[in-house]
């Protein structure tokens, strides 16, 4: 383990991607480069994971002063919360190069850049640095969607770009507000995240800044009612971009809430948590119910993803340790299950040239391995015990019950809503008789089968033996709540207004 | 006494403005702009004399140099415009698109 491992994880893919873009490399070289670089990143990340000692604090810290007059620094570090999002990206992205072998050079180059930028955003410990990576992250998605997207790519591209940029600007204003407030209170310029927790924010401007952050993250997650860019973008984007958006980028929104909003705006957060929790729960139900009306399986998965993100966000808003830990665990579980489902949807689309559910059928008998993989990912997505999806979902529901009975009960309906559309889709696509379109469906090739195998195994291992993963997360979440006692204390009085007789006594 | 100089300068400047606004021939517009520059030069020189220092003179020389450079560029642009549309009417050139 060397000193600047985080910088390498961030900048190796970005530089490789830029290099590919400026040189006249062929498709094959681009794919090969992408594969090598992403595998190298994976090796580094695994090394990082092994060396991570779960103290709860930032580890592998790099600190280089940057704009000293404003206290901006090139400051990186990972803790148990960011580590898992970083790992999800590193583990999942190499698959894309294995599976999709015939795309343009820019496709692979942009994928590399977005990988680096996402790693940067989760490792950044300085708000300005975070903002820079946050913005860079969007650019490759913009290009991938605009250049290689489906037939209605332009409106979708415009919508996602404007939507996220609007959110980003609000966040920038809020970041500036935090820096200025810190200077006013402590007479020192800094944008370091860990110092912001000392700020004592109150008044109307703080509420505006709180919502500045919240809206930026809500758009990225996406949280109801800011999700409307999602169905179009996820459907029209090329598979890899959808995969990146759903599996990792959406999670960085949740990460942002955990990192910025909860520690800094503790008072405002406690005040609005119930509102946000309802937003998460309603989003889950709304998108989950809308999913059943979809005729396009990619769009159905898009709604499913939005639905699950509602639950993940809810876990953060519940302000207790089980729900938060469950959220972080579910982030990884959802990245593996839904991410893989989107890749499978890409494979289905590539082989049948259709995205319409009704056109397909009987694939289980034509492609048993594919059906098996798909079924495992699907079951993880609906939270079946024994797969990764259960642990997180259970803890979130558990935590939500403590937070507020009504929210908890509504959150529980995800068990039913998720299974309705998934089974319906599975029935139409994999069961019943084959249709002319699916008649000649080829099963996964050996390379594809081996590519997905680690993730499929990971889904099951994470469901059966989650404790090694959880033990890396819990010190950070415990510390998180130790630092934010006022939030936790505040929570005891705000909840259970609906059913006071069910109030669970604090131990 | 400066009033008279300034009055003349204002009159010249307004003549220039009216020329720029009302005339459609590119050359006339160009000459009107020159007229406005010279009105400004007159004012500079008058103030210079009034304050008894050389600052105004310096600026007047500067304006002349700029006007000369501008004339060189502007004439080149006019020739291009003429090549493009064979006309020197400003109303013809109402689109940025070439």
């Amino acid at each position: 383990m060397f000193e600047h491992v985080l910088s390498v994880i961030i900048f190796l893919p970005i530089l490789a991607g830029l290099l590919l873009l400026v040189t006249p490399a062929s498709k094959t070289i681009a794919r090969f480069t992408g594969l090598v670089i992403s595998l190298a990143t994976l090796v580094l990340s695994v090394d990082l994971y092994a060396g991570f000692s779960a103290t709860g604090h930032l580890e592998f810290v790099e600190y280089i002063p940057w704009v000293q007059s404003l206290g901006v620094a090139y400051h990186l570090g990972v803790d148990g919360i960011s580590l898992f999002i970083l790992m999800a990206g590193s583990v999942l992205l190499p698959m894309v190069y294995f599976v999709f072998s015939t795309k343009e050079k820019g496709y692979y180059a942009n994928l590399l850049i977005v990988q680096g930028a996402m790693a940067g955003a989760v490792c950044a410990a300085d708000m300005i640095l975070f903002y820079i990576f946050w913005e860079i992250m969007l650019l490759p998605v913009f290009f991938m969607l605009g250049l290689y997207g489906g037939p209605k790519k332009l409106p979708a591209t415009l919508k996602i770009t404007l939507y996220t940029i609007a959110g980003s600007l609000l966040m920038l204003a809020a970041i500036v507000y935090l820096g200025v407030s810190y200077h006013a209170q402590f007479n020192e310029w800094t944008f370091a995240m860990d110092k912001m927790a000392q700020l004592n924010l109150s008044g109307r401007v703080a509420v505006f800044a709180f919502f500045g952050f919240m809206i930026a993250f809500a758009i990225k997650i996406p949280l109801f009612p800011f999700h409307t860019w999602l169905p179009d973008a996820y459907t029209e984007a090329p598979t890899a971009a959808t995969f990146v958006l759903s599996a990792i980028m959406a999670k960085i929104g949740v990460y942002g809430v955990i990192r910025f909003v909860v520690p800094v705006f503790d008072e405002q957060f406690a005040r609005f948590a119930i509102l946000l929790a309802y937003s998460g729960v309603i989003g889950m139900m709304y998108c989950g119910i809308a999913a059943i009306a979809q005729k396009d399986f990619k769009r159905m998965l898009a709604f499913s993803s939005a639905s699950h993100m509602g639950i993940i966000a809810l876990g953060v808003f519940c302000m207790n340790m089980q729900a938060l830990t469950g959220s972080i665990y579910q982030i990884v579980a959802h990245a593996t299950s839904t991410g893989v489902l989107f890749l499978f949807a890409g494979i289905l689309e590539d082989r049948t040239q259709t995205r319409t559910i009704e056109d397909l059928g009987g694939i289980a008998s034509k492609a048993p391995v594919f059906a098996l993989y798909f079924a495992i990912a699907m079951l993880a997505s609906v939270g079946l015990p024994g797969t990764s999806g259960f642990i997180g979902e259970f803890m979130i529901i558990l935590g939500a019950i403590k937070f507020n009975t009504a929210v908890g009960v509504l959150a529980g309906t995800t068990l039913i809503i998720g299974v309705c559309y998934m089974l319906w889709m599975f029935q139409k696509v994999f069961f019943q008789n084959t249709t002319p379109t699916s008649e000649n469906f080829k099963d996964l090739t050996l390379v594809e089968g081996l590519t997905f195998l680690p993730v499929i195994i990971l889904i099951i291992v994470m469901g059966i033996y989650p404790q090694p993963f959880l033990s890396k997360i819990t010190p950070s979440t415990a510390l998180h709540f130790a630092q934010n006692e006022s939030v936790v204390a505040h929570q005891a009085v705000t909840t259970h207004a609906l059913l006071p007789e069910l109030t669970i006594e604090q131990k | 006494m400066i009033h008279n100089y300034l009055l003349l300068s204002i009159i010249l400047f307004c003549l220039g403005i009216v020329g720029v606004i009302s005339r459609r021939n590119v050359f006339t517009v160009f000459m009107s702009i020159e007229l406005m520059l010279n009105a400004a030069n007159l004012a500079f020189v008058a103030f210079s004399r009034f304050h008894e220092n050389m600052d105004g003179h310096v600026l007047a020389m500067m304006v002349m140099a700029v006007a000369a450079a501008e004339a060189a560029l502007a004439l080149a642009v006019v020739i291009l415009l003429h090549k493009h549309k064979s006309k020197l009417d400003t109303n013809v050139f109402s689109l940025l698109k070439g």
């Binding site: 860019w229 008998s365 803890m395 299974v419 989650p466 | 689109l95």
Partner: protein
């Protein structure tokens, strides 16, 4: 208090490994080469049989311990631990789970052996056994789990296998729909289970969330939360064990292969709810209201299903409704706090219902997948072994003394009467008569009288030994299992109840001998009346009756499915498409669209100034400069 043994984890592991192995072999070979059926058959039976042997070992180990400390535990690893929440992947064998363990593995093994014959020639032979083994593994986790969360793993796992096996013949849309229905309805129940667990955890779970700790701390639970937990867990049980209002999936579940119906939808999985209530007897014993609700739900389900059962014409549907009805009895038993009686009925029911289903499977197999009883008839001469074993099963189901069903059912009815639930007892006796009627209606129509379909009759034949031997073993069980819990009035000493006592929190009410005789007498009379009516109507052969009025209403199952479809399924779909077609583009996306329209409008408004003439821009410049100079001169003054 709790002795640790390291082999408990192996019991579910054997079938699970079998499932993975068979599944992998099947998936990777099914497109290319055909693996001989015998390989799958042997692989599939190894796991269940090994588990059965281990279960016997557990039984012997428990037996050796003194009665009050009969607990064997094994914590394999820490499953997940966050803050106060600490869940071990742990297994617990106590008398209750041991009893379940024994009959689940025994009947599971028998049905696996039977399936070798029944499924012969199916192109997805391997897949079938993989699912069956997976089911058995999940069921054993359910039974052995030492905390509600571990139990939930098995609970959902058996639901999944049920789904997979119902939609086993997946080319037919109806089968897949039945599978979907089963999974979704089960999930509704599972929601209750998860919520119940959550409330229970926040109530007393932080001291430990395994059954032993929960039992020790249950008195800390406030009454309101205890009631909530009890009812929510029961919602889970109604889903899994097909009680009102969630029973609708079980009759449809008969779309699966018949051994599946026998194993999953009769003998084991559907009794999980009863097992769960008995597991939580320490909780339910404290909340009488929850117990009453359970008992009434159970007995009403028993009545409703018996009514439906009287008019079915599919042999498997008759048995399916009888299963729902018998499950209702079990819930009535555990609801009136007679947990051992309920569990004993689970035990005997597993034998005779598995026997009846396998017998029905044998008939269906002989008639080349004909399930309508009105196309059968006179089969007793053709299939004597099947006939005799099925009659034994039917007598047990109908509650004829001294068959097993009589003792267990009577125990439940007696407990209801003794604990003062007079209404439940009355309905129970009525249902007992109806049970006798519909069971023997089926037996008479299928086996007696003249053949209705001569061609099918001529081709009918007795099933092979691999199918009849399990039938005979089960028939022995159905005959004699009842004697295991012979009440004192017949000179027995209730072995099963005493065996179960350390696991359960129950009080045996002491009543006069008169009450006991009354209960037994009423049951016998009901049985005799039921069978008499069946004999007069169908004993000499009868043709398919036409239905009208109430019978038609009952034949169509009170249109419950249609009502559910109209008030739940269709509105749900309608909400889904209205969200997608109306709400999403107009309301939710409205502000976004409005924002873009606003920008368009502002742009259009300012467009008029952009005429493109240089002169006009010059005017703007001059006007602007003039205004600025004016302000400047103002500020200088």
């Amino acid at each position: 208090m709790e002795q640790s043994v390291n082999y408990l984890g192996l019991i579910p592991l054997f079938p699970l490994l079998g499932a993975v192995l068979i599944g992998l072999v099947h998936v990777f070979t099914c497109k290319k080469i055909k693996v001989p059926e015998m390989v799958y058959g042997i692989l599939a039976c190894v796991g269940p049989v090994l588990s059965f042997i281990m279960a016997l070992k557990v039984f012997v180990a428990l037996k050796a311990l003194p009665a009050e400390s009969r607990f064997l535990g094994h914590k394999v690893f820490t499953w997940f631990s966050v803050g106060d929440l600490h869940i071990d992947m742990g297994f617990l064998a106590d008398p209750l789970s041991c009893l379940m363990l024994l009959f689940v593995t025994l009947i599971g093994s028998l049905i696996h052996i039977y399936s070798i014959g029944y499924m012969g020639g199916d192109k997805n032979y391997g897949k079938f056994f993989s699912y069956m083994n997976l089911f058995l593994g999940s069921m054993l986790i359910l039974v052995l789990g030492d905390s509600p969360v571990v139990m939930f793993v098995g609970w959902e796992g058996v639901g999944l296998c049920s789904y997979l096996l119902i939609s086993f013949y997946s080319e037919d849309k109806q089968n897949v729909l039945a599978g979907n229905k089963a999974f979704i309805v089960n999930r509704i129940g599972d929601l209750g289970f998860v919520l119940g667990m959550s409330f229970l955890f926040w109530g007393i779970g932080s001291q430990g969330f395994d059954y032993i700790s929960l039992k020790a701390n249950v008195h800390h639970l406030s009454p309101a939360i205890a009631l909530t937990v009890g009812l929510l867990l029961f919602v889970g049980a109604t889903g899994k064990s097909a009680q009102i209002p969630l029973y609708v999936w079980l009759p449809d579940a008969m779309a699966g292969p018949t051994p599946v119906s026998a194993l999953i939808h009769a003998a084991t999985m559907v009794t999980a709810g009863v097992y769960m209530v008995a597991r939580f007897s320490f909780l339910y014993a404290h909340v009488e209201l929850a117990g009453s609700i359970i008992a009434w739900t159970g007995i009403l389900t028993a009545l409703l299903a018996a009514i439906f059962g009287m008019f079915q014409d599919d042999i498997k549907k008759v048995l399916a409704y009888s299963t729902v009805s018998q499950l209702g009895y079990m819930f009535a038993g555990v609801g009136v706090a007679a947990y051992s009686a309920g569990i004993f009925h689970v035990f005997t029911h597993a034998f005779f219902k598995a026997l009846l289903f396998l017998g029905a499977g044998s008939v269906i197999y002989a008639l080349h997948h004909e399930q309508n009883i009105w196309k059968m008839g006179g089969l007793k001469s053709k299939m004597p072994k099947t006939y005799i074993t099925m009659v034994i099963g039917a007598l047990a189901l109908a509650g004829c003394p001294p068959f097993s069903g009589f003792f267990s059912k009577d125990e439940i009815l007696y407990s209801a009467l003794a604990s003062g639930h007079f209404g439940i007892w009355m309905v129970g006796v009525l249902v007992a008569g109806m049970t006798a009627y519909y069971t023997f209606r089926m037996i008479f129509v299928v086996f007696h009288g003249e053949p209705r379909d001569q061609k099918a009759f001529d081709h009918a034949h007795e099933s092979p030994g691999v199918m009849t031997v399990p039938l005979i073993i089960l028939a022995v069980g159905a005959l004699f299992a009842g004697f295991l819990n012979l009440p004192a009035i017949f000179g027995g000493d209730q072995i099963v109840s005493h065996w179960l006592a350390p696991s359960l929190t129950e009080h045996h009410p002491h009543t006069s001998i008169f009450v006991e005789i009354l209960a037994i007498g009423a049951s016998v009379v009901a049985f005799v009346i039921g069978i008499k009516i069946a004999y007069t109507k169908f004993g000499q052969g009868a043709s398919e009756p036409a239905f009208s009025g109430f019978t038609k209403f009952a034949y169509n199952k009170f249109y419950v499915d249609e009502v559910y479809n109209a008030i739940i399924v269709q509105p749900y779909k309608a909400i889904g498409s209205s969200i997608w077609k109306v709400l999403e583009p107009n309301v939710t996306d409205g502000p976004v669209k409005a924002a873009s329209k606003l920008y368009m409008a502002i742009g259009t408004a300012f467009k008029v100034f952009q005429v493109g003439y240089v002169r006009v821009y010059a005017i703007y410049m001059i006007v602007g400069l003039s205004i600025m100079s004016l302000f400047l001169s103002q500020s200088l003054n």
